[in-house]
């Protein structure tokens, strides 16, 4: 066993650290129209250095960085206090699906624009009656000349208020639940699309409802086979739960901030919670290093999803308990942390998955 970084990774780390140190600045909330464009511009500045998608092939705007280098990038990124990634749903949820199931044409058309944030993607998974139970989707795509017509309603679409395009599952054929679904991409500015922003607890429209009324999707925006959407989407779901969406660097950076906060507001009765947040972030970091040899997928990703989401809540709760009613700099992160045990499959569902698929308990 060896935890040291090779020379190439050390040099990459130094480059990233230096670039971030001289470029990071504070932006308005990405859940406002103005802040969204500020974040798009930030993504473009990252892309100009080939830092927006470091692990992708060079042809799409990346550096073909190793997974280890990607982790190092994330640690540096979060430690620097750099802005949230407005392109994250595209980069972390859609792109892996395109790498696995897309065509060369789709990759060439979609990925470079995503890397430069020329197109920002929203997810369109949930529907009002299908939250944890994603297989009960009802929105449809009906065959038409040269493509498909979407009808129905999606909800809890993160970023949809200001994004350009979206991806989701639609019923295209007979069959119940997991059968007869197709993975489709659509333009949020197409005719027939109505986006209604939903204000979150923090008062900002972090997600939206999308109403679809005969929205045209050309054939080249079907991902994978028609009717095979469930299988195609599940690779994305694994990524959402697994390491890509919540890289350890986010938590090690937050834990360090918490330790600093504790030093300024020491309360011995809260010491253990502070230390446990740091230990938890470190555990997740090392666990991810251990997974580099054989990346997590499926039920193993459920283990980390429960862990990081509850770590995140505990960490932010501790900060608020240290600070009391006036918690500048922590409130937004705290509110966001509360959504962690819910989205990407509630932690209750994840625990079922762990018990049934990793421990073999009966369904």
């Amino acid at each position: 066993m060896d935890l040291s970084l090779d020379a190439e990774t050390l040099s990459f780390q130094a480059e990233v650290r230096a670039w971030l140190a001289s470029h990071v600045r504070s932006l308005s909330s990405m859940d406002t129209a103005e802040g969204f464009e500020e974040h798009r511009a930030w993504e473009r500045s990252l892309a100009a250095e080939r830092l927006s998608v470091v692990s992708w092939p060079a042809v799409y705007g990346g550096r073909e960085a190793s997974l280890l280098q990607w982790l190092v990038f994330e640690e540096e990124y979060h430690a620097s206090g750099a802005p949230g990634r407005v392109s994250q749903n595209g980069i972390f949820l859609l792109a892996p699906t395109l790498f696995a199931h897309g065509t060369d044409e789709q990759r060439a058309r979609i990925l470079p624009a995503m890397a430069r944030a020329d197109e920002v993607w929203a997810q369109a998974w949930s529907e009002p009656e299908a939250g944890s139970d994603l297989a009960s989707l009802r929105s449809t795509a009906t065959r038409c000349d040269g493509g498909w017509l979407l009808r129905g309603q999606k909800t809890w679409s993160s970023r949809a208020a200001f994004a350009d395009r979206a991806f989701g599952l639609f019923r295209t054929g007979p069959g119940e639940r997991h059968r007869g679904l197709t993975y489709l991409l659509f333009d949020l500015r197409s005719d027939g699309v109505t986006v209604r922003p939903i204000d979150q607890l923090d008062g900002e429209p972090g997600f939206a409802e999308i109403f679809l009324d005969d929205v045209f999707v050309p054939d080249h925006d079907v991902v994978g086979e028609v009717g095979d959407g469930w299988r195609v989407a599940m690779s994305t779901a694994g990524n959402e739960r697994g390491l890509t969406l919540r890289s350890p660097g986010r938590f090690t950076a937050a834990a360090s901030r918490l330790v600093e906060l504790y030093r300024k507001n020491p309360d011995p009765a809260l010491r253990d919670r502070v230390v446990d947040a740091w230990i938890g972030a470190q555990a997740y970091r090392l666990h991810t290093y251990g997974a580099l040899a054989s990346p997590l997928s499926g039920p193993a990703a459920s283990v980390t999803k429960v862990f990081w989401s509850e770590l995140d809540v505990a960490l932010h709760e501790t900060a608020l308990d240290l600070l009391g009613e006036v918690a500048p700099g922590w409130r937004d992160g705290w509110l966001f942390s509360l959504s962690g045990p819910i989205y990407a499959g509630t932690n209750e569902i994840q625990r079922n998955v762990i018990a049934e698929r990793l421990l073999g308990l009966p369904r």
Binding site: S132, G324, E325
Partner: protein, 271 residues
Amino acid sequence: MMFTLSAEQTDFASVLHDFLKAGGTDLASLGVDQVTDPVDLVVLFEEVGHHAVAGPLVETLAVVPALIGSSGGSSCSVAFPPLLPHAPEADRYLLVDGDTLREATPITELDSVDPTRRLVELTPGPVIATDAPTGRAFDLGVLTTSAQLLGLGRALLEMTTEHAKARTQFGTPIGRFQAVKHHLANVLIGLELARPLVFGAAVTMSARDVSAAKVATSDAAWQAARVALQVHGAIGYTAEHGLGRFLLQTRALRTAWGSPSMHRARVLEAL
């Protein structure tokens, strides 16, 4: 020994509940500014919490009257630095320094965890009294905040239980899943055992008992809020759903009038 509410107290709770449920806002019309007995104040503030009524009611109806006899019809607020360095927004402000009571003026608005609970820093004004009963006033603030938390927790449990019965996923009400049942059972247990501490504190008005009530209600109500959000899922995370108002108020009151940690220290000191 008779550790249950009287018929009058139960009736008072019902009247308050019906009034607030029907959208009533002018609590003074129910004579709440005449309430001074600590047990009656607990009855009042449990319903205030039960409906997540916003505003400096603890200060106006319980704390300031204990300091100066009456709040005189306008909304009042008070800070007890260094323990409570800031105060919720109101028409009139007081500042406590030991046994000395002063008028005060707001200077800066602070970034509150609950946007409906605006907080200000105060600067001291003229002295009103030099031997004010500040200890009892502080404890009344803690006690009525505990009662409010109890009511908030109860409301959160009620709305979440209803949601769990109505919302279906995987072809069945989610309230049939054992995980949801156990979450809600834990909330009920926490609130059910916190409740007698609040009334017990109202009877004794000792620092030990008042602080114990604050600790237990802070934990029980916040557990209720966490479970409420988790069981509601994304819908509970929207500003449109009522849950958020209860959740943010609970989070703010958990550390208002002294953090759980401070109150645990006070309990230990008294043992």
